[in-house]
C-alpha cells in the first residue's frame, strides 16, 4: 500500500463538547484529519436521540443524525460537573489544540472551565463557543431552535406560500449545520493566528448570526436601500413584475426547478426552447416570440401563460433523470428537484467517487455516507471512521494515554464520572 500523505490537519487534537448546535464543527475538523475526541456525558449525548434512526429503531446507538454528524471522531464519556471529571478534562486540555463547545453562555465559567481558566492551563488552546445568540448582549440567555433561528435570521421571511405561514425546511435542523460549519471556519482562522502570536483565542459563533448570514443577501432591507437588485425575494411571489413566473414545474416522476427569464443571464430561456422545439413542444405564440425583448420581466400574465403552457407539457413528458441529462446536453440552467434517492443515483457524484462506505461492525452493516466536501490534490479528505459508540474510546484515552489505572477507571465509572 502506498504511503498515505499527511492530512490537512494531521497532528491537531480537538475536544468536542458540543451538542446539536455544533456537532458539524468537529466532524469537519475530523474529516480534515484532526484527532477529534467527542466528549459526552456518561449516559451519552442528547443528540443521540435525534432521528431518523437506523431501521427506525429509536436507540442512542442508532441515531442517523448522530451518525451523520460524528464521522472521524473518537468518543469518551466524562461528567465535567464532578470534581474528578473537571480534573481529567483539564489534563486533556493540556494536550489539546481546540476545545469546541455549545453550552449556554456562562455554564463553563461556573464550572471553572471557561476560556480564561483553560488559557492558563494551555495558552495555545483555541476555544470555539457556539451559542444561540452570543455570550453577551440583550438576548444572550434566550432560547433557540431551528424554526426560531430561521425566523429571526430572516430565512423564513423569504419562503413559503402567500396563503400560509412562512416555512422552514423540513427534516433535520439546517441552522445548526450553519453554526457548526461557521465554528470550523473560526477554528481554522484562529489556528492561523496562533502561528504569529503563539496564543490561542476564543472563537465566538452565534446561531442567530449564522442564520442571518444565510439570508441577508436575499432579504429586503440593507441592499434595497441602494436601489435594490434582482435577488430580493418576497414570500409567495415568484417575481415582482407584470406576471408570476413558475419556478417549480411538475415533470413525469416529480418536479423540476426552472424559470423562464427571456434573455436574463441567470435564467435564459432559449436553451430550453431549442430542446422543446426539437421535440415538437411549441405553440404559435412561441414560434414568433422575441426572446430578447427587454420587457420580458414585466410582460403581462396572458403572454407568460403562453410561454409556460408548452413548457409544462414538455416537462410532463420527461423524467427527472432525462431532464438532468438534457440540461447538461443543451446547457440549460435547470435542475430537477432531487430526493436523497435521486442523489444516490446521480451519475456525476458516482463518477467523482463522492459516496463513502463506512463499516458499522456492531450493526453488522456497511452504510453509504455523503462523502468529502471538497477534492484536494495534496491532502485529500478521508472519512474513515464511523461515529463513536458511547464511551467507545474511554480505555484508549484514559488508560493508554492518561495512564489512569483499571481500578481507578472502575471507581470513576461507579462514581458516574465516566
Amino acid at each position: 500500500m502506498a504511503e498515505q500523505s499527511e492530512s490537512m490537519l494531521s497532528g491537531y487534537r480537538v475536544l468536542d463538547l458540543t451538542d446539536e448546535k455544533g456537532l458539524l464543527c468537529g466532524k469537519i475538523l475530523g474529516d480534515l484529519g484532526a484527532d477529534v475526541i467527542k466528549v459526552e456525558r456518561p449516559e451519552g449525548d442528547a443528540a443521540r436521540h435525534i432521528g431518523p434512526f437506523y431501521h427506525n429503531e429509536p436507540h442512542p446507538e442508532r441515531s442517523l443524525f448522530w451518525f451523520a454528524m460524528n464521522t472521524s471522531k473518537r468518543g469518551i464519556t466524562l461528567n465535567i460537573e464532578t470534581i474528578d471529571g473537571r480534573e481529567i478534562f483539564k489534563k486533556l486540555v493540556k494536550k489539546a489544540d481546540f476545545v469546541i463547545e455549545s453550552f449556554a453562555p456562562g455554564y463553563l465559567n461556573k464550572l471553572g472551565l471557561g476560556y480564561k481558566a483553560l488559557e492558563k492551563i494551555n495558552p495555545a488552546v483555541i476555544m470555539v463557543s457556539i451559542t444561540p445568540y452570543g455570550p453577551t448582549g440583550p438576548y444572550k440567555d434566550w432560547k433557540t431552535s431551528d424554526i426560531v433561528a430561521w425566523a429571526m435570521g430572516g430565512e423564513m421571511n423569504l419562503v413559503g406560500d402567500a396563503d400560509r405561514p412562512p416555512i422552514r425546511m423540513s427534516g433535520h435542523s439546517q441552522v445548526f449545520l450553519q453554526s457548526g460549519s461557521d465554528g470550523a471556519m473560526g477554528a481554522l482562522a484562529a489556528l492561523w493566528g496562533r502561528w504569529s502570536t503563539g496564543q490561542g483565542q476564543q472563537v465566538d459563533v452565534s446561531v442567530l448570526d449564522s442564520a442571518a448570514y444565510s439570508s441577508i443577501y436575499y432579504n429586503p432591507g440593507p441592499w434595497a436601500r441602494r436601489g435594490g437588485a434582482g435577488l430580493f425575494m418576497k414570500r409567495g411571489v415568484a417575481r415582482q413584475g407584470g406576471h408570476r413566473t413558475t419556478n417549480i414545474y411538475r415533470c413525469k416522476d416529480g418536479w423540476v426547478c426552472y424559470s423562464h427569464g427571456g434573455s436574463n443571464r441567470l435564467s435564459p430561456s432559449l436553451p430550453l426552447i431549442k430542446w422543446m422545439e426539437a421535440e415538437g413542444f411549441t405553440n404559435d405564440f412561441l414560434k414568433n416570440f422575441d426572446w430578447d425583448r427587454p420587457d420580458f420581466a414585466t410582460m403581462p400574465q396572458e403572454e407568460m401563460d403562453q410561454v409556460e403552457e408548452p413548457t409544462s407539457r414538455f416537462f410532463m413528458s420527461k423524467t427527472k433523470a432525462e431532464l438532468l441529462e438534457g440540461c447538461v446536453k443543451y446547457q440549460i440552467m435547470m435542475y430537477p428537484c432531487a430526493t436523497a434517492a435521486d442523489m444516490l443515483e446521480n451519475p456525476q457524484l458516482a463518477a467523482r467517487g463522492f459516496w463513502v462506505r463506512l463499516e458499522h461492525p456492531e450493526l453488522h452493516d456497511t452504510i453509504t455516507y455523503a462523502g468529502a466536501f471538497g477534492s484536494f490534490s495534496e491532502a485529500p479528505i478521508r472519512i474513515t471512521r464511523r461515529a463513536p459508540l458511547i464511551g467507545e474510546h474511554n480505555e484508549e484515552i484514559y488508560g493508554d494515554e492518561l495512564g489512569i489505572s483499571k481500578e481507578k477507571l472502575l471507581t470513576l465509572k461507579q462514581a458516574g464520572v465516566i
Binding site: M8, G51, P52, H55, N56, T136, G137, P138, W142, K143, D146, I147, V148, A151, M152, G154, M156, V159, D161, R164, P165, I167, R168, M169, S170, G171, Q174, S181, G186, A189, A190, L191, V203, D204, D209, A212, Y213, Y217, N219, R226, L231, M233, W255, C257, S259, V328, Q331, M333, P336, C337, A338, T339, A341, P347, R352, A370, G374, S375, S377, E378
Partner: protein, 388 residues
C-alpha cells in the same frame, strides 16, 4: 495596531455572483490582500453592484482574454498565495489560467475552483446557478407543504458553498505552512450542499425513506410553527419541546388551565391535536405584535422568534446591533450596509470592515507597485483596452 490575522497573504480573485465573492471576503475582512480582477464585461451580481460582498478588497481591471492581459494575470499570480475562481468548470483552464498552468511557475500556489458540480466528471462543465442547484441538492423537495409542490428555496447552496470554501482555504494555508506545499482545491457546490442533507441521505441509504415536506411540523415539538401577529405579514415562530416549556407557554397566554387539558398534557397528545393547538395559538398571537409575542415567550423560557427581514436586522434586532452584525459603510456610489464575510468573532484579532472598491481603483497599486510597470506601459495598456 496589532497585526491583522491574514496580513501578508495575497489572494487573486476571479469571482463573481455570490459563492466566489463571499469566499474571498472572509479573507479580505481579516486582513488578507484580496485583489479582485474586474473586467468591464463581467456582471458583478449580488445587488447594489455586489458591494456588500466586496468589502476590504482591492480592484484591478484586466482583460485577461487578451494575450498581454493573460501575461499580466500570470505575473500577478506569481506574487500571490491564493487564487480563487468560480467560472464554469474548466473555463479558466481553457484560458491558460488553470491550476496546472499556474503551478509550473508558482508551485506552492493554493488554487481553489468552485463551480456547480466540480472540475471532473460528465457534468463538470455545466453552467448553472445556486438557484437551480438548490433543487438538485434536495432542499426544494423537503421545503413546503405535504399537499403542495416543493418550494423554491432560491440559492441556498450559494450560502453553504462559501463556508466550505473558506474552510478548505484555511486548511490548505495551514498545510502549506507545515509542508511548504500548495494544492488544488476542487470544490463542487453540489458536494458541499449535500453535507447539509447528510442525515436525510442516511435515512435513504439505510432505511430507503425519503424525507418529505412537513410544513413547519417537527417530530419532537408542538406548538411548532410560525403564528400570525398584528400588522401586515408579521409572524412569530414558537417552538415548545418540553413539558416545562409547555407549562410556561400556557402561563404566558394566560390559560394555565390549558396545561391540564387532556388534549395537550403530553407531547404525544399535543402532536395528535396539533391543528387544534395551532388554532388556539393563532387566536392568542393574532391580536399581539410579533415582537411582544417573542419577548413574552423568551422571558418565560419558551423558544420564540419573530420572522424578521433585513430592515428588522438593522433597526429592531437588539442582539444583532449589540454584535455589530451589520456595518454601515460609505461608498462613492452611496453608503451601504454589509455583514462580514466571516461568520465568527475572535477575542484577540477583531476584524474591521472597509468599503468595497470601485472598478479599477487599485490599478496603480497592482500594475505599478506590485508588477513594476511604468506610467507609459500602463497608459498604453489602458489605451489598448487590456487594463480598464
Amino acid at each position: 495596531m496589532a497585526k491583522k490575522l491574514f496580513e501578508g497573504i495575497r489572494v487573486v480573485d476571479f469571482t463573481l455572483y455570490l459563492t466566489g465573492p463571499l469566499t474571498t471576503q472572509a479573507l479580505s475582512n481579516c486582513g488578507a490582500e484580496v485583489i479582485k480582477i474586474d473586467t468591464r464585461s463581467q456582471m458583478t451580481g449580488g445587488g447594489a453592484g455586489g458591494q456588500p460582498m466586496q468589502t476590504n478588497k482591492l480592484s484591478a481591471t484586466l482583460n485577461f482574454a487578451s494575450p498581454r492581459g493573460l501575461e499580466l494575470a500570470r505575473r500577478l499570480i506569481a506574487t500571490a498565495d491564493i487564487v480563487v475562481e468560480n467560472f464554469a468548470g474548466g473555463s479558466l483552464k481553457r484560458r491558460g489560467l488553470g491550476y496546472d498552468d499556474i503551478k509550473t511557475f508558482k508551485p506552492d500556489i493554493i488554487y481553489l475552483s468552485t463551480c456547480m458540480q466540480g472540475q471532473t466528471g460528465p457534468y463538470s462543465s455545466h453552467a448553472a446557478s445556486g438557484h437551480k442547484l438548490t433543487a438538485l441538492t434536495g432542499f426544494d423537495y423537503i421545503s413546503g407543504w405535504p399537499d403542495r409542490p416543493p418550494s423554491y428555496m432560491a440559492a441556498y447552496t450559494d450560502i453553504i458553498a462559501p463556508r466550505y470554501n473558506i474552510i478548505a482555504l484555511l486548511a490548505a494555508l495551514e498545510y502549506r505552512r507545515r509542508t511548504g506545499k500548495g494544492q488544488f482545491l476542487d470544490m463542487s457546490q453540489y458536494e458541499g450542499g449535500i453535507q447539509f442533507m447528510a442525515p436525510a441521505i442516511l435515512d435513504y441509504s439505510v432505511n430507503k425513506q425519503i424525507t418529505e415536506r412537513a410544513g413547519n411540523k417537527y417530530p419532537y415539538a408542538a406548538p411548532h410553527n410560525a403564528y400570525r401577529c398584528t400588522g401586515e405579514e408579521m409572524w412569530c415562530a414558537i417552538a415548545v419541546f418540553t413539558d416545562k416549556e409547555w407549562l410556561s407557554f400556557c402561563k404566558v397566554i394566560g390559560k394555565p388551565a390549558l396545561a391540564k387539558d387532556s388534549r395537550f398534557t403530553t407531547l404525544l397528545a399535543r402532536k395528535e391535536n396539533e391543528e387544534e393547538l395551532d388554532r388556539l395559538v393563532n387566536e392568542w398571537t393574532s391580536s399581539r405584535s410579533a415582537e411582544d409575542v417573542m419577548n413574552q415567550m423568551q422571558a418565560a423560557g419558551v423558544p420564540a422568534g419573530m420572522v424578521e427581514n433585513g430592515d428588522d436586522h438593522i433597526e429592531r434586532n437588539h442582539q444583532l446591533k449589540h454584535r455589530h452584525f451589520l456595518w454601515e459603510l460609505d461608498h462613492p456610489g452611496g453608503p451601504f450596509f454589509s455583514p462580514a464575510g466571516v461568520h465568527f468573532q475572535l477575542s484577540k484579532t477583531p476584524y474591521e470592515l472597509q468599503r468595497s472598491p470601485i472598478f479599477g481603483e487599485h490599478n496603480n497599486y497592482v500594475y505599478k507597485d506590485i508588477l513594476g510597470l511604468s506610467d507609459e506601459d500602463i497608459a498604453q495598456l489602458t489605451q489598448d483596452g487590456v487594463i480598464g
